[in-house]
Symmetry: C2
Subunit: 218 residues, 2 copies
């Protein structure tokens, strides 16, 4: 039986993008199904009844939700070009940082961009603490994964690309070269990496999308 | 070199208990180091500088934090008595439910127990939605892992044991037999399972601990 791989995603979701990057890294052919989150499709609701969110990977009809869970699944199912490191300790460190990005960094960065003006200073400060922690972790490595893009780099695409675009739309610059030279250098490498570059939407399109959101909220 | 395994934990933490259960299931000998969270030890601060929380596993001096990350590490390092299932899809499902328990259920149950009285009704309702979702997932299985305790069962120990004890202390009964017969039966099996029973503190001690907390807050 030919293998059937489908990804239910959304072009403006950094979480969907994680799965796209992983599938591309592995060389897995897949059908991409864009959903409209304002009008969720029956396929999405049936495939992820608990969270009703993208991304969902459908592998031979069986659904898997939650981007970190999907990344692990992809790495275990298609063995070429490993995403996670091989040694259990290195794998634990990668999972630790991915979790940190999801549970601390992304919410802090999101809040710094979207909070009310009176909360901004504190929110930006908290986001910068997260970025500093990642800057210290990255140190002299080219990628979090070492010499090439790995699990943490894929997970960190929100920081590598989206936070700059969203920040431009809302007028909040977080990842600045004077404060975070190492992360900025990583971000350049990240968006310059072929497999990531080929999957990123244009920055202008993302900025325009979020500008509309800013305008509709004001 | 003899293997050195230490666990920095706290007796009243369901997250520490996860690691203890996993180590016991694997038959790994370890030294347990209890910490006082009101006066965090230099060892804890050095071993988990990002979160400054228990549990931390020290394996030959190398620290690993975050209970889910530690469980995966233990399963990859000591191969006997697997905690996660073998097939990638089953592993993905186990990780999905563990994540759901950590990100949705535990916070919802905690809130239902500790929120202000005026928020109680809504919080209990939300907690019950989470429990119902787990009840539906468990269906006719003895354990989430099937016939024996697995990854999700270990992660769910907060629901299997702690929520009853905390509920008794604060006077909020969440896991009732009329509403959640399947989860209650699972909870009986869970706390009756040798490797878990041997590691649980006495319910009276937990109730007394949280009663003190209620009294000091009022």
């Amino acid at each position: 039986m030919a293998e059937e791989v489908k990804l239910i995603g959304m072009w403006v979701s950094s979480f969907s993008l994680r799965v796209e990057i992983a599938l591309k890294l592995k060389g897995v052919q897949y059908e991409y199904i864009e959903v409209d989150l304002t009008n969720k499709s029956p396929l999405l609701l049936k495939s992820n009844p608990v969270h009703k969110k993208v991304p969902v990977l459908l592998h031979n009809g069986k659904p898997i939700a939650e981007s970190l869970v999907i990344l692990e699944y992809i790495d275990e199912t298609w063995k070429d070009n490993p995403i996670l490191p091989q040694h259990p300790y290195d794998r634990a460190m990668a999972r630790f940082w991915a979790k940190y990005i999801d549970e601390k960094c992304v919410p802090a960065l999101w809040k710094a961009c979207w909070c009310e003006e009176k909360e901004r200073e504190k929110a930006v400060e908290e986001a910068c603490v997260c970025l500093k922690t990642l800057e210290n972790e990255l140190k002299d490595k080219k990628f979090f994964g070492g010499e090439s893009v790995g699990f943490v780099d894929i997970v960190a695409n929100f920081i590598g690309f989206w936070v700059g675009a969203i920040g431009e739309a809302v007028g909040v610059e977080l990842l600045t070269r004077d404060k975070f030279p190492i992360l900025c250098k990583w971000s350049d490498e990240h968006v310059g990496c072929r497999v990531i570059k080929e999957n990123l939407p244009s920055k202008d399109k993302v900025v325009a999308f979020y500008r509309t959101r800013v305008e509709s909220a004001s």
